[in-house]
Subunit: 423 residues, 2 copies
Amino acid sequence: MTVTSAELQVKGEAARRASRRLAALSTEIKNQALLNTAEALVAQQAQVLDANAADYAQARDAGLSEAMLDRMRLDEARIASIAADVRTIAGLPDPIGEVIEGRRLPNGLDLARVRVPLGVIGAIFESRPNVTIDISSLALKSGNAAILRGGKEAIRTNIALASLAQEAQAAAGVPAGALQLIEDTDRALVGELLAMKDTIDLLIPRGGAPLIEYVRDHAAMPVVAGGIGVCHTYVHRAADLEKALAVVDNAKRRRVSICNALDTVLVDRAIAGAFLPALGRRWAEAGVEMRCDPEAEAILRAAGLPATPAAPDDFGMEFLAPIAAVRVVESLDEALDHLERYGSGHSEAIVTEDYAAAERFLREVDAAALYVNASTQFTDGGQFGLGSEVGISTQKMHARGPMGLRELTSYKWIIRGTGQVRP
Amino acid sequence: MTVTSAELQVKGEAARRASRRLAALSTEIKNQALLNTAEALVAQQAQVLDANAADYAQARDAGLSEAMLDRMRLDEARIASIAADVRTIAGLPDPIGEVIEGRRLPNGLDLARVRVPLGVIGAIFESRPNVTIDISSLALKSGNAAILRGGKEAIRTNIALASLAQEAQAAAGVPAGALQLIEDTDRALVGELLAMKDTIDLLIPRGGAPLIEYVRDHAAMPVVAGGIGVCHTYVHRAADLEKALAVVDNAKRRRVSICNALDTVLVDRAIAGAFLPALGRRWAEAGVEMRCDPEAEAILRAAGLPATPAAPDDFGMEFLAPIAAVRVVESLDEALDHLERYGSGHSEAIVTEDYAAAERFLREVDAAALYVNASTQFTDGGQFGLGSEVGISTQKMHARGPMGLRELTSYKWIIRGTGQVRP
């Protein structure tokens, strides 16, 4: 597909040009631009909230779901939280120019592997307008230009946020073109954006599974796909059952609509009779539907608790809702087999007091984040100390798990000599 | 495309199964397997050389080019050199299990980013049978299974080398299936191999540009493409001309058929009248054809030296032959513009005694390896201290430049807790 949109062409070339200068931009200028952005977010929140109110009213009239409406809504508290994240990014070490390794070779050559930006980061996202600020801030701090394409439903909000950030960056001396928001919300532009492999070095889709799969299948440039998580927690026979109840409940219920939320609980047969009724009582009260294999269903019913029989594809399903699949397993081996078959490589947990079982789980499960005795909802760039994140990668190449600053970089080898030739 | 070859299916599944056990294999076993392989290469060289002689005779009768014949030929010295590389890999630190970073979070969670293998590495290569041992050795040390598909012309040699390595690995306790050589040389198998994205985590094509481009365009799994290098050396006005002559000559002539060989010399106008005749005399004697822009051509002719007018596409051409494009440039700026337009992101060099010019070149040129006052032919895993290499990446995602052990790994995040839930 060729690019016919003038907006894409002009903004793409501007981002490409800016990326050369961004690679050499000083840390001071980048940090000042971020602090300016945080300040402007608070000082100019009235304009942002007005734009958001207009988007919200139109989206509500158009009949968007409550979940979508909630995700796009900004208020003073959410803006303050976005501004705080931007200040956190300003406070993180600058990854660019880091000497990852270096040494003098026997022939006198000085060799260094030095961290550099990727170039131009593209992002395609839905509803949440905070992504505009999150990704543009992480891209700037890591020396990359950014081209953003947000959802139609939040276009006024995104324009308000992007222009505020562009002004804040310009005032600090960031080259023009570093941050580009595509304002044309025509769906055909997504296809054209996916073809711009000479302009965009890395594309990040943020949103539901259909968007992510579409981008992964059609993009001509590298994509970091993530955001789809089928997450398991395995309650081992040597679990502390109080810890297990707290961890499983938090992994499911803290927020149900995010990719690190629990989808399936695996319960060891040895403690299923003690654990499942306790979990069933908690979730019956909280309104979490339990889709059970026959053994789990029998235990819950015997305790007078509700249980739905699981359909075959409930295992391996990302629910994003107050629903969990439940299965009783014979052993750690059976749990590992289940994870290998149904896991999506995102976040998996074991609850156990058994050292050997915990270590085997950590060694053998192949996923971005593995937990012992903790909630999978910790998989998050902010929680991991990366400041923020552009997304959570479930692939193994380049970056895995939450992607912060360093995950938006590459490196080059620099060799300083005095006339050396190779024998 | 679906996989219809029984050999691909059976060997793919065996590699996948082996990869789970390889991820946890001890460094001792991996190193012993490599030492066994090095020993067997020397002890059983008669079988390998017999197989190679049969391949060679058939290839010569089939009319393969001298260059191809030279690349596929093994002798005692080459086998000794391959064995030495394997011993070097045995001596390198094991990358697997390395804690890349780790810390205790304020809530008491212990967070670690731990290096793990990618899983199954696929390689498709032509003629050079040493690739069989190079890639299988690097894959083993980095805990990966390997599926190799070598060229038809060296199939007997590859079978001899792979079975020798398989026996050496088995004797050390490496799980069966870790090393797979596809013996069916039907070309249709390449297409099927490229579709095996659930089996192969990373595919490495090694060979000429047509092979690499075909693999990059058709593979369903991630590919590290490299091996195509349009390499420049820029002789700056502040160059030491003796150093420049030695560096430029070595970059072109040490070996002309490899990807880090010089393709274009850029000469600063201020020193072109002094430098080009010296280079022209050296290359006239050595038989290197100089394809010149009008200004360089005039200087050479005025000195009574041969010069060919350059065609437009000589700039940006990878020659892999005793040919170089030559252009006179006004300044460092013009040289940087030339590199941005024609470079392939492989290896670029500047020859200068001017500190500021050198540092600007290192900062602004976007390529895998950048040199000051040294030959681009140093771009090589062995030279960089990586032991050996599976290839040289010219992309920015995942790995850039020579790919050794670490570049065949990913990581996972491990979080050890005591019942933490996220607020």
